[in-house]
Subunit: 406 residues, 2 copies
């Protein structure tokens, strides 16, 4: 147990140091945590090794992170930002997915594996995006509302895609019957939880206060999160999809704001283990040759183009400059992209090079986008549109920022 | 990972159900959590098995729990309650320890093992005690102040003892040179952290706000908690001693109240795994024969007499009735006693029967004491003494209660 405690110390402290350095360099904290993992990990300093305790904490960290993302996602918010966000979200998934799948297939991946690679092109981090927008003081702008709404749709579609492509890895090539069945299961699970679950929660959330335990809204929701995560994993979806849906259900409760407050310290303790383990698995030496670096460059450029063009086209209605802002805002891949990479690695789909490249791409997009976004926002007056402003998104943004921080 | 998630679900939900039932029956939540563990565990229903992930979460839970107990323990509070609490604390440790060691030795344990058994007789749970007092509405009474002050001294002495007896288990009998060296190390570690650490923290706690991360007081203190826990384990003390000292150091910070708030949800998520695992390890069948039940009866009676007489004598200055109140208030063994049992079990000192008996004794004392305490308090007017009232203990009690809850 002494060894386990020391490895927890080293990883937790390294994560904090990394996060602090990244934030002082005006980068998202996750970038620093992953970098710290790569530095202390077995492929560099060797101060920490992958171990079952770390993996369990990392898994719980990922589950809690996605629960908190769900907690910031109200079904109602999806409807309010309306048609523009919907088009941005959908186009922002299709375009990078097709681009990623095409590139991966023509690079030599079998179709089922190529689709997994493509899933990593798709995810935009609602957490990182919201964090960046707040750091730029642009929370109130119409583009920010669209970006956040689209990021939510994007997240759901990306997770659906992830469930589908994960389930495809068992077979030899694309089995359309199994694809359809996976899709039905995934859609059924997501739709039932998202529609029925949220409605039940809206009407019955006072039941969360029924137990004597004054923390029961939190503990019951965490229990629900673990249950849905386990169920999602059981039917072949990623556990984090269940956690995200549990968060979305919890977002409909009256106790939502207390839950958001309470989840922050829990995440501060556990989520860093996910990012540091992610970094520890990056074999920096895998990027140490020209062909890997060229591949990284290509992947990163494709990932940027995919979002910029897909989301930009979806937002053209707001005018070309605002469309560029929306497109740029959707570029940072965050924890969801990294989760896809980690799943792909553990499923044996990605080798060390592809894994390292996808992680590096997620980091690069998160580093490149913020300054560009800042420049675009500074030069662009707010457009006139018919999308009505409302304060729900504001509170959404504020709370996203708090936990997106880690 | 699906299996792990399901086992986490089952244990976490069982813990909540158990806690809820116990609280509705006016018992401490921990009693229900441990009972739930015994019921779903491998010796009864078999719904959950001991596994490394559960053990890691349980260990982290124990560390966090003792960190939070430390967080409610200000060095200054120890001085304020003064001579009476000091005498109660010291007599309340010596008497049960001698009683426990004598009984265990004459029951056939070697001296080093007998001292380990005795350590389980010693601990009073500051958390449970404070919780019980608050439930009885007796927080403001002089006896409550003495009990809480003494419980703190008791905790420290019990942990010192635990460190000493743990380190003795490697050898063959009591080696007085190693005993002295262990004592020097343990005292050195405890005194340096408790005196130098708390002083440094009092002067320099603004450094906790230095990082950009607004949660840095929490994350830095958690990192410090892990470091001291690992260091304590490294020098042969129990990891929880380090965690407790880290909490005591953190209690001196300006950010103490925010830390107390933030630690509550983290504990709500992780600490139940400790108690449920504790319960899962109780082989209820080990208590299923007459000799074991007689042994349990003897141990419980001795554990009650030890505290009642030891603490009662220490508090005689307050008058005989108040001394009885103080003595009864110190009877509940809580998480510390259970931690000793768990350590003894994992160190191979306790067999299944002894382990089950010590856990059952901890539970029985926690169930028996509250109604007796209530009856005594109802009949006894508050005594006149020279111990000055102060509001520090009130805030201490209130915060103890919040986390003692779990």
């Amino acid at each position: 147990m002494t060894v386990i405690l020391f490895s927890l110390c080293v990883t937790y402290i390294a994560a904090q140091v990394g996060a602090e350095i990244a934030q002082r360099l005006k980068m998202p904290a996750v970038v620093g945590e992953i970098a710290a993992g790569a530095i202390i990990g077995p492929f560099a300093l060797g101060w920490a090794q992958k171990s079952e305790p770390l993996e369990v904490l990392a898994e719980i960290g990922a589950v809690l992170l996605l629960f908190s993302v769900g907690l910031e996602t109200k079904l109602g918010d999806l409807k309010k930002v309306g048609a523009v966000a919907g088009m941005v979200g959908v186009a922002g998934v299709i375009f990078p997915f097709v681009l990623g799948a095409s590139w991966a297939h023509f690079s030599g991946f079998a179709w089922n594996k190529a689709l997994f690679v493509a899933a990593a092109f798709v995810a935009t981090s609602a957490g990182i995006t919201a964090r960046v927008l707040k750091d730029l003081g642009a929370l109130g702008r119409i583009e920010s509302r669209v970006i956040l709404g689209a990021a939510v749709i994007d997240d759901i579609l990306a997770m659906l895609l992830l469930g589908v492509v994960s389930a495809l890895q068992g077979g030899q090539g694309v089995n359309f019957a199994s694809l359809a069945w996976v899709l039905v299961q995934a859609l059924g699970f997501v739709i039932i939880i998202a529609l029925v679950g949220t409605r039940l929660m809206r009407k019955q959330s006072s039941l969360l206060d029924a137990p004597i335990n004054p923390l029961s809204p939190l503990t019951l929701c965490l229990a629900g999160c673990l249950v849905l995560a386990a169920c999602a994993a059981y039917i072949g979806l990623a556990a984090i999809i269940g956690a995200f849906l549990a968060g979305m259900v919890a977002a409909e409760s009256k106790q939502r704001h207390a839950l958001e407050e309470q989840i922050i310290p829990i995440m501060a303790f556990i989520v860093p283990f996910f990012f540091i383990l992610t970094g520890m698995q990056v074999d920096v030496r895998a990027l140490g040759n020209t062909s890997a670096l060229i591949m990284l460059l290509v992947v990163t450029v494709l990932a940027i183009i995919g979002k910029l063009v897909g989301c930009g086209l979806g937002a053209l209605k707001l005018g070309p400059r605002s469309a560029a802002i929306v497109g740029t805002g959707m570029v940072p891949r965050g924890e969801v992209g990294i989760i896809v990479a980690a799943l792909g690695k553990s499923a044996g789909v990605f080798n060390d090079t592809v894994y390292a490249i996808i992680i590096a791409m997620s980091l690069l997009t998160s580093i490149i986008a913020p300054p560009v976004l800042a420049a675009l926002l500074a030069k662009t007056p707010e457009p006139l549109t018919d999308v009505p402003p409302d304060d729900t998104d504001e509170s959404l943004l504020l709370s996203v920022d708090e936990s997106g921080h880690k």
